[in-house]
Symmetry: C2
Subunit: 236 residues, 2 copies
């Protein structure tokens, strides 16, 4: 519990900047846990202040506004991802590396939907994001793609994974009542409509109700990897 680190209880031999850094770290950690526990709606400046036993307005000396705090929290989540991905063995095929990365991005969205939902479309500008960019670029570059194509596929991979993971995250932050409604939408809508109205949807009702989001995520990831592979084979 480093809760009180936001207060000036640090020893005298730290510079102002170091102290501020530590306070930010403590606030980010607390915000992360708060969002985890109480969801996106629970992460407010007042509640975070309470958690840190500090007046909410004090947080504005640590972060310019709530947005900046959110981005810092998201970068923290990315740092965790990177740690889980760990070292990339030299022998690992570039596609397998990307599959592992995609898997961790998904895991973050499932574990921390509140944070992911709030920031999936954003650039954090933080150190973890930079390392992640470097890793994905490096990996596509290994495939033998041109510089231009490497960047194109890096972006396709990053945006598609974050976009799809963002959807699950947003959904997970909604009321469980709405989630249930969303999950049952196929049967709810099509099971009780006149026969002629949506013939194709009705003909596929079994398949529509049984497919899961992770399958779709993997399908899109594989489609992007396959396209990259084909393009690198062509240029070789």
């Amino acid at each position: 519990m480093a809760k009180d680190t936001v207060r000036a209880t640090t020893p005298a031999r730290t510079t102002r900047r170091e102290r501020k850094g530590l306070q930010q770290e403590a606030a980010v950690k607390a915000a992360f846990e708060l969002a985890q526990r109480d969801g996106a709606a629970g992460l407010t400046m007042r509640r975070l202040g309470e958690e840190l036993k500090v007046d909410a307005t004090t947080l504005y000396r640590l972060f310019r506004d709530k947005d900046e705090l959110l981005l810092a929290v998201y970068d923290h989540a990315t740092a965790v991802e990177l740690e889980e991905i760990g070292e990339v063995p030299d022998s690992e095929h570039w596609q397998d590396t990307l599959r592992r990365i995609a898997d961790r991005i998904w895991a973050t969205a499932v574990r921390s939907p509140a944070i992911a939902a709030l920031t999936f479309a954003r650039t954090t500008g933080g150190p973890a994001e930079r390392r992640m960019v470097e890793l994905i670029l490096e990996t596509f570059a290994r495939s033998g793609l041109s510089r231009e194509a490497t960047v194109r596929y890096y972006r396709a991979f990053a945006d598609a994974t974050l976009g799809l993971a963002g959807q699950v995250a947003v959904l997970a932050t909604l009321d469980s009542e709405i989630q249930a409604k969303d999950a049952a939408s196929w049967t709810r809508i099509y099971a009780h409509l006149p026969d002629g109205e949506y013939p194709t949807a009705r003909a596929h009702i079994t398949e529509l109700t049984s497919i899961d989001r992770r399958t779709i995520y993997d399908l899109v990831v594989e489609a992007v990897l396959a396209a990259a592979e084909r393009e690198s084979a062509e240029s070789a």
Copy 2:
């Protein structure tokens, strides 16, 4: 200007249900325009009430809550998309139909970012959404895929396009200051770092700064279509 339709100024020969339907329609249209004009943050119940010259709380007889209103607005946007897509000629290749659909989904996100950002991860349950589902399913089914694969690719296509379009939409709803920061992030971050730190990112800096989001969108769409084509060729 059908502004006052929310008030009970309709002739006596309409049932209560018809009247409510008209009022809902007028509210949805006004909400759509309000979001267009003032952005996501501008679409509040009070402001919508003002626009319709009705007390904000009156809207709660038309929609259970703000979420329900939002979904109705999103369904309205989907209806516009469908109109723009128009009839699908029998001669059109299934991939070209899907390209046109993807293009209109993108257009909605660019034109109505506030609405798209608020609802891209959601199911509206409305009539336009049902017709859209029917159209996309129908089109994939034309490719000769199995029932199971048709549904798989329908979802991959729909989720990927909405996810990516959702990202541009969310970005477009942010302060223009933040948008500029986001757009310039590559040069801002990597141009001023020590040489050894992110070698791959630095080596790709020109390409990273020049790529645009629409190129990435099209790349992902094409990757999904190519995967569908290969799978349908295999099963044939």
